[in-house]
């Protein structure tokens, strides 16, 4: 199972801050995963497709075409705002 983490407004869009999902073998990249999530929930898909969203795979920043696997922790980050 892969562990998905959603932060900030993306947790609101996903309805949860964390999800466990079984990644099918054809879900090879973050882009593929976003497409799968978007098929289940179009509004969430649109939120995850915003240009400002960044991705972290196993605690390292990753691009949309980064390879992912069924044991990975994949985080979706909206624009940060500290201070």
């Amino acid at each position: 199972m892969a562990r998905l983490l959603f932060f900030g407004k993306l947790a609101d869009a996903a309805g949860a801050r964390a999800r466990q999902v079984k990644l099918e073998p054809e879900t090879r990249t973050i882009d593929d995963l976003v497409a799968v999530l978007g098929d289940e929930d179009a509004a969430l898909g649109a939120s995850l497709n915003e240009k400002s969203v960044r991705f972290i795979v196993n605690e390292t920043l990753a691009s949309r075409d980064a390879a992912i696997g069924d044991k990975d922790e994949i985080a979706f980050l909206p624009p940060v705002s500290g201070g």
């Binding site: 947790a11 972290i56 985080a75 980050l77 500290g82």
Partner: protein
């Protein structure tokens, strides 16, 4: 030192410890960011700050390392609250010790600009008329961009 904490902190006590530890460093600069009481016309009743444990601390460490490359600084303290905060509570504190004041001022200014726009925090404002996730203002990005031009300094 970098500290991300859910409990309130006492900026005066923190500064006192930092300043004592700084010993004979010629300059100590401190900044405290606090929860504002209003957003536009609406009263702010609280803030909620979220972070990504481990990743957030590393993002702050990278910002601190960048500051240490650019300025001659002796020591840095960064404290950042997460969780629920009320109006008037300190959110963030940055202290810099250096031999000379210009390095201390500029490094503290840089650290705050980057904490606002690069560190992994997400902030929700709880107002009388509802809740809203906050993103950096254009002014915040402009402030951070000031430091891009002299990257090779």
């Amino acid at each position: 030192m970098i500290r991300v904490c859910t409990d309130p902190f006492d900026p005066g006590a923190e500064l006192s410890v930092f300043e004592t530890k700084a010993g004979a460093a010629g300059a100590v600069v401190s900044f405290i960011g606090k929860v504002r009481e209003a957003a536009g016309d609406s009263a702010v009743t609280g803030l909620y700050l979220e972070h990504y444990p481990g990743v957030t601390e590393r993002s702050i460490a990278e910002i601190k390392e960048e500051a240490a490359k650019r300025w001659a600084i002796d020591d840095v303290l960064i404290i950042h609250r997460v969780g629920e905060l009320g109006p008037g509570e300190p959110i963030v504190m940055v202290c810099v010790a250096a031999a000379h004041r210009r390095d201390a001022f500029e490094a503290a200014d840089f650290l705050m600009d980057y904490l606002k726009t690069e560190a992994m925090f997400w902030k929700k404002e709880i107002r009388e008329d509802g809740e809203a996730w906050i993103e950096p203002r254009d002014a915040d990005y402009k402030d951070a961009a000031r430091w891009k031009d002299d990257e090779e300094e």
